[in-house]
C-alpha cells in the first residue's frame, strides 16, 4: 500500500518535472528572443576576448613544438616536453627562479607590513591638515610610471652627482654604484617599489579602520585603555580579516617579482641577482627569438601562478570568509 503510494507520487512528480523543464526551456527561449539585443551587445566584448585573450592561449601549443614562424603553428614540428626538460636542466633557470622568489619574499616581508603601519599611524593623527598633507604626498608616486621612477632613482643614486652619494662623500665615504652592484640592487628594487606603492596601499586599510564602530573605542577609553592598547586590542583585530585576505592574495602572486620595474632598472651587471622569470622570458623570447623555449618558461610561470592564485583565494574563503570572487 505504502509502496504503491510512493510509486504514484514519483511518477506524477517526474511528469510535472519534465513539464517544468519543457516550460522552462520555452521560457528561456522566449527570454533569449526578447533580449536578442542584449546578445548583440555582448558580441564586441566576445570578439575581443577570443582574439586577444583566448587565441594567445591556443598559441601556448608552441611550447611543445620547435616553432618556426614561417611554418606556423600547424606545420611546426612537435617535440613534446623537450623544451621543459631543457629548461629544468639549465643552471640559469635555477638562478632566475631563485631570484624571483628571493625578490618577491623581500618585497612581501618589507612592503606588506609598511602600509598597515602607515595606516595605523595615520589613524592616530588628530591634526587633519597634517593628515591630509601626508596622505596627498604619499599617494602621489602611485601615479608615476616605472620609467619615471627608474629615472628618479637613477638620478638620486648617480655616482657623479646623485644626492645619496653626495651625502656619502660628505661623510668621507666612497661613492657606491647602487644600480651596478649586486649587493645593493635588490635593496634598491624593494625600496623603490615601496616608495611607489606603500602610501597608496594604505587606502584599503584606512577604509577598514574607518569601518570600526566608535562606541567600541569610547567604551575602551572609559575602561582606561591607553591608545597603544586600543590599537592592539581594537583596531588591529578589526582589520585582521582584511590583512589576512590581502596577505594570502599577495602570496598567490609570489612569482611576479616586478617584471616591469626590473626591466627598466636592471642592466647586465646585475643579472646575477635581478634577472627574474618575467625578464628572462622577455630576453630569450623577444631578444633571442627563442619563441618555443620562452613560451615554455612562460607557461611554467603562469601555471604555477594560476594554481597559487586559486588556492590563495580558496584559503582566504576558508580562513576569513572573504575572497575576490
Amino acid at each position: 500500500m505504502k509502496s504503491v503510494f510512493t510509486k504514484n507520487s514519483i511518477s506524477s512528480s517526474t511528469l510535472s518535472l519534465s513539464k517544468k523543464i519543457e516550460s522552462k526551456k520555452k521560457l528561456e527561449w522566449h527570454n533569449i528572443k526578447m533580449n536578442y539585443d542584449m546578445y548583440l551587445l555582448m558580441i564586441p566584448g566576445l570578439l575581443f576576448l577570443l582574439l586577444f585573450r583566448y587565441l594567445p592561449m591556443y598559441g601556448i601549443l608552441i611550447a611543445f613544438q620547435d616553432f618556426n614562424i614561417f611554418e606556423g603553428i600547424l606545420k611546426s614540428e612537435w617535440i613534446g616536453l623537450a623544451n621543459f626538460t631543457r629548461l629544468f636542466q639549465m643552471k640559469e633557470f635555477y638562478t632566475v627562479f631563485t631570484n624571483t622568489l628571493v625578490i618577491s619574499i623581500y618585497k612581501i616581508a618589507f612592503l606588506f607590513p609598511a602600509p598597515i603601519v602607515l595606516a595605523l599611524l595615520l589613524n592616530e593623527v588628530k591634526n587633519m591638515l597634517f593628515k591630509r598633507t601626508v596622505q596627498t604626498v604619499i599617494y602621489l608616486p602611485h601615479f608615476l610610471s616605472w620609467v619615471i621612477i627608474a629615472g628618479l632613482f637613477i638620478n638620486i643614486l648617480s655616482t657623479s652627482s646623485g644626492l645619496i652619494n653626495n651625502v656619502i662623500k660628505a661623510f668621507g665615504g666612497e661613492p657606491i654604484a647602487f644600480l651596478m652592484d649586486n649587493r645593493w640592487f635588490r635593496s634598491i628594487l624593494v625600496f623603490s617599489a615601496g616608495w611607489k606603492e606603500s602610501g597608496w596601499n594604505t587606502i584599503v586599510y584606512i577604509a577598514a579602520i574607518a569601518g570600526v564602530e566608535q562606541e567600541v573605542y569610547e567604551a575602551a577609553i572609559i575602561d582606561g585603555a591607553s591608545r597603544i592598547k586600543q590599537m592592539i586590542h581594537i583596531t588591529i583585530p578589526s582589520i585582521l580579516s582584511t590583512i589576512v585576505m590581502l596577505f594570502i592574495l599577495r602570496l598567490g602572486s609570489i612569482l611576479e617579482a616586478g617584471t616591469q620595474q626590473i626591466l627598466v632598472m636592471y642592466n647586465p651587471v646585475v643579472y646575477k641577482t635581478a634577472d627574474i622569470i618575467g625578464t628572462y622570458v622577455y630576453r630569450t623570447g623577444l631578444g633571442n627569438m627563442e619563441y618555443s623555449f620562452s613560451t615554455a618558461v612562460g607557461l611554467f610561470n603562469s601555471l604555477v601562478g594560476f594554481i597559487l592564485v586559486i588556492s590563495g583565494n580558496n584559503l582566504s574563503k576558508k580562513m576569513v570568509q572573504r575572497s575576490i570572487w
Binding site: L41, L49, R53, I154, G162, L163, Y291
Partner: protein, 293 residues
C-alpha cells in the same frame, strides 16, 4: 569628556608625527631633487651641490627638451593614445558590462567565467606577440589601444555599479517598449557617470604610463610614446655618461644630467597637474573595487 594628556601620549604623538613626516619627506625628496637639477646651472649640477632647491636658476635644459622634435612627437603620440584609448575603452567596457549585469539572462554566467579566467591565466608574452604579428598590429599605434580596450577588473567594477541601480527604472522603460540598447544608452549610462569617470581615469593613467606594450610592439622611433622616449633618454645617458657629458656640455652649457632631469620633469608634469582629480577619483575607485571586487 575632558582627558588629561599623559606623558606617554605625548611621546606617542611625537613618534607618530615624526615617522609620518619623515615618510612624506622621503617621498618628496627624489621629486624635489630632480626638479632642482632640471633648473640648476651646469656648474652646480656637475659639482653635485644641488639638493632640493635649484641653484643659479636656468631654464635652458627645459627649453632644450621642450624644443626637441623627438620629445614633442612622443608627447603627441602619448596624448593621442591616451585620449583615443580612454574613449574607446570606456565605451567598450561600459557596453560589455551591461549584459553581464543581468544575472537571469541565459549564458551570462558562462560569459563571466570566460572573462574572469583571463584575469588568472593568459597566453603569455610570446604567444600574444605572435597573435599581434599575425593580425598585423606590430608597429601600429592601434596595438597600444585595441588589445587594452577591456580591462576585466574595470569591467567588473562597472558591472557591480549597474547591479546596484534600481531595477524599477529599466522596468518602466521596458513597459514603454524601449529596447535594451536604448535603456543602456539613455538611462543606465547617464546614471553611471560617477563610476564611468573613475574608470576613465583608471584607463587614462594606464595608457599614459604604459611603456611595456610599446617597448614590445613598437620599434619605429617616430611611433615611440613618451614613456619609451624617456626610457631611451635615461638609458642612453647612463650608458655613456662621461662621453656625452663633455661634448654636450661644451656645445650647450647645460649639464646632461639637467637635460635628463628636465625630460623626467616634463613627462611628470601632466600627472602632477591632474593629480587632484586622480587622487579623488582613484580613491573612490579603490573603495568601490574593494567592497565587492
Amino acid at each position: 569628556m575632558i582627558k588629561r594628556r599623559s606623558f606617554g601620549d605625548n611621546v606617542l604623538d611625537i613618534f607618530i608625527y615624526m615617522t609620518l613626516g619623515i615618510t612624506a619627506i622621503i617621498t618628496l625628496l627624489p621629486l624635489l631633487n630632480v626638479f632642482s637639477k632640471a633648473f640648476s646651472a651646469d656648474w652646480a649640477v656637475m659639482s653635485g651641490s644641488v639638493s632640493i632647491f635649484p641653484i643659479d636658476f636656468q631654464f635652458d635644459a627645459m627649453s632644450y627638451v621642450l624644443k626637441s622634435k623627438e620629445f614633442l612627437n612622443s608627447l603627441k603620440i602619448s596624448v593621442f593614445v591616451t585620449l583615443v584609448g580612454t574613449a574607446l575603452s570606456i565605451l567598450m567596457t561600459a557596453i560589455t558590462a551591461y549584459p553581464l549585469s543581468k544575472k537571469n539572462l541565459y549564458g551570462v554566467k558562462a560569459m563571466l567565467l570566460l572573462y574572469v579566467f583571463t584575469m588568472m591565466f593568459g597566453g603569455g608574452l610570446i604567444p600574444t606577440y605572435l597573435v599581434m604579428k599575425m593580425i598585423g598590429l606590430v608597429n601600429k599605434l592601434s596595438v597600444l589601444i585595441i588589445p587594452a580596450m577591456i580591462n576585466v577588473f574595470n569591467m567588473l567594477v562597472i558591472k557591480n555599479y549597474y547591479e546596484s541601480l534600481p531595477e524599477s527604472l529599466e522596468e518602466s522603460a521596458k513597459l514603454d517598449g524601449a529596447s535594451n540598447a536604448y535603456i543602456l544608452f539613455k538611462i543606465i549610462l547617464p546614471l553611471s557617470k560617477p563610476v564611468l569617470a573613475t574608470i576613465s581615469l583608471f584607463y587614462a593613467v594606464g595608457f599614459w604610463n604604459d611603456y611595456f606594450t610599446p617597448m614590445i610592439y613598437i620599434s619605429k622611433p617616430e611611433l615611440r610614446p613618451l614613456q619609451v622616449y624617456l626610457r631611451d633618454a635615461i638609458s642612453q645617458l647612463s650608458e655613456n655618461e662621461i662621453n656625452r657629458q663633455q661634448t654636450f656640455d661644451e656645445a650647450q652649457h647645460i649639464a646632461p644630467e639637467s637635460v635628463r632631469a628636465a625630460t623626467i620633469v616634463a613627462s611628470t608634469v601632466p600627472i602632477l597637474l591632474s593629480y587632484p582629480y586622480l587622487q579623488k577619483y582613484f580613491i573612490k575607485g579603490v573603495l568601490i573595487g574593494s567592497v565587492k571586487g
